[in-house]
């Protein structure tokens, strides 16, 4: 009798489930795309795609919806990482959507391009005729997400209808589309923020430097710290100051808050996340503070 290590850890199980899902998308859909923002969740997705398809190439391109207001450190990381992997990067640009008159830029100190991304994403999906977009959303992020399927079907307009979701049983995913439908697939649905960080530590994945504590010029707004940048208009009472911060999520510079932190290594960050008392979206995302059902409303119109 061979001794068998039957105790898979939770990370082993979550990884196995996610790799299975990524392979299912590739096998069942005609033209998938993997969405990559340079954020920690999509960095995990890239790793999972390596696990699923190496030594082969990814059977889909990698795409970033670039708001034009991203952190430069993240863009540098994005380009370098995809090049290292030898995969194809597509960039869908919100700036181009604005220039083409597809969307109108918000103005004022609270202007954000977050909402505009949806149009750019849908346009890019249509232009490239993608039928599936793989994303790094997690169920623990927000309560509308807790009810979303791993294969989340969208109609012609990219809209999510929470009342008409297909039952999802065992690991048997039904990837068949109706005419005009597309599907968003979330392989790390069942992961938590802590799982993501533990996995990054276990796999020793490189992250953009802004995830670790660094000195930065910030200002305070609604109890959150925002990076001083050309993309955000400060009001008179919003004086800049310099402090050690890190970012817990990475999105648009206009709506992503920093947290005061001294966590300079992966280990420090994992410890900090394990001890945190505030959710990541509550702490750092202005877009989700807008209303009680902010995420649900955005998803219904095609947001991720």
């Amino acid at each position: 009798m061979i001794q068998v290590p039957v105790h898979l850890s939770h990370l082993d199980e979550l990884e196995a489930e996610a790799v299975h899902i990524v392979r299912e998308v590739a096998a069942e859909l005609e033209r998938p795309v993997l969405l990559f923002s340079g954020g920690k969740d999509s960095i995990v997705l890239l790793r999972l795609a390596e696990k699923a398809f190496r030594p082969g190439k990814f059977p889909f391109p990698v795409m970033h919806v670039d708001t034009g207001h991203n952190f430069p450190e993240v863009l540098e990381y994005r380009d370098r990482r995809v090049a290292e992997l030898g995969e194809t990067l597509l960039v869908a640009s919100v700036q181009e959507s604005i220039d083409n008159g597809r969307v109108v830029e918000e103005t004022g100190p609270r202007a954000s391009r977050n909402q505009l991304q949806t149009t750019t994403l849908l346009d890019a999906i249509e232009q490239h005729r993608f039928d599936a977009a793989i994303g790094g959303a997690r169920r623990d992020e927000e309560r509308a997400r807790a009810k979303e399927r791993i294969f989340s079907f969208r109609d012609d307009f990219g809209q999510w209808n929470p009342r008409a979701q297909r039952p999802e049983l065992w690991n048997l995913y039904n990837g068949r589309l109706r005419r005009g439908e597309q599907v968003r697939v979330f392989p790390i649905s069942n992961w938590t923020e802590l799982d993501v960080w533990q996995y990054i530590a276990r796999e020793n994945l490189e992250l953009p430097p802004i995830y670790f504590a660094h000195e930065r010029e910030v200002f305070r707004r609604d109890g959150m710290l925002y990076a001083v940048s050309e993309f955000v208009e400060r009001q008179d009472d919003e004086d800049p100051f310099t402090v050690s911060v890190r970012f817990r999520t990475v999105g648009d510079m206009s709506c992503t808050g920093a947290v005061a932190s001294e966590a300079r290594s992966l280990e420090d960050v994992v410890a900090e996340i394990a001890a945190t008392r505030v959710t990541e979206r509550g702490e750092t995302r202005a877009d989700d503070r807008a209303s009680e059902a902010a995420m649900e409303d955005r998803k219904r119109v095609g947001y991720f």
Binding site: V19, R23, W170, N174, G282
Partner: protein
Amino acid sequence: MSVTSSELMATELLRLVTAGSVDDGKSTLIGRLLYDTKQILADQLEHIEETSQRRGDGYVNLALLTDGLRAEREQGITIDVAYRSFVTARRRFQLADAPGHVQYTRNMVTGASTADLAIILLDARKGVVEQTRRHSYIAAILGIPHVVVAVNKMDLVDFSEERYRAIEQELRETSERLELRDVRVIPMSALRGDNVVERGEGMPQSMAWYDGPTLLEHLETVEIAGDRDLAHRRFPVQWVIRPISDSHHDYRGYGGQVAGGVWAAGDDVVVLPSGRRSRVAAVESLDGPLDLAVAGMSVTIRLEDALDVSRGDMLADPMESPTVARELEATVCWMAERPLEPRTRLVVKHTTRTVRAIADELLSVVDIHTLEDQPSPERLELNDVARVRFRLAEPLAVDSYAENRATGAFILIDESTNDTVGAGMILSAMS
């Protein structure tokens, strides 16, 4: 509860499903589990405190933690299965919260399909009711290895041991009839927090007669590693990896998730349905060759011979291979509004293989009130559980669901709408 990150890296994952209606206090129980295990963070708590106050609940309503969608909050109902995570020092939990009333069967079957454990909730004042038996029945047919019956609202029966023992006795009869192997009964009050995570204040006096574990203690310690099928090697081929690059010119690997057994280089293999034989050259992951792979792991397997193997084929142990079936008899849970008539054409997705099928005969349907089989129904309605015989257009390599939950399960797809319309659990197979 503070847990260091290194301890957490190696915890086991337990998947559980909760069944019960709002009236039994299910949302409160889940809220209590999340709250007492310190999963609720400051901004979430602040949010439900505000909402409780606005609604005039008079206390912090933990049930609000599980409200997901706007319509649910507005109507005070639960629409869909919700998935939640929590973690303690001992385990990482993945909870599927299946609403009890509307479409209970469809929802519970969905949540139960991947569960290691089911929590079935009942109200101590009402005892074992029809719904309790239904939930137990679904746990049984879905092959959930472990069941906990949470006898809730003990505070409303004055923590009466006599009441509890009577319920326990009734449950024993149900479990025996349904052949549920591991059933644990726990008295509790989710509202007060007694016996959910902590024993609770005043517990020593009021329920001194109960000396078993709290719900969380049981969830943290129930043995699940043995539930894996390590005896019968099964590997549905999901994706063929053929780089055709200079460095990997002749590489041909089969990606998939191990559905049974322990796989290692040198193992004999039969490829089904073709019946060709080969041997495992290597079991690999991104990190390189593996000594072995067990059920649940996603890996890549290479064979010694260049066979024509593709997605949908099953690699298996030639000494104990699955049945290559043209006909199946299965327990089916029908999940569509449109009834299933005999002779309907459907699509069956089983592991990574999808074939056309005809529902040749509806053998019997379960009366949800008595749990007895009624022979030869004319059709199946939404939420019906029935025994159905299928004829397959192409063969599938299957096991019975009782033997293997991965190779014994399938979903039914309606080809005209592409909807998932049913779940199937194989009882027997004929070639």
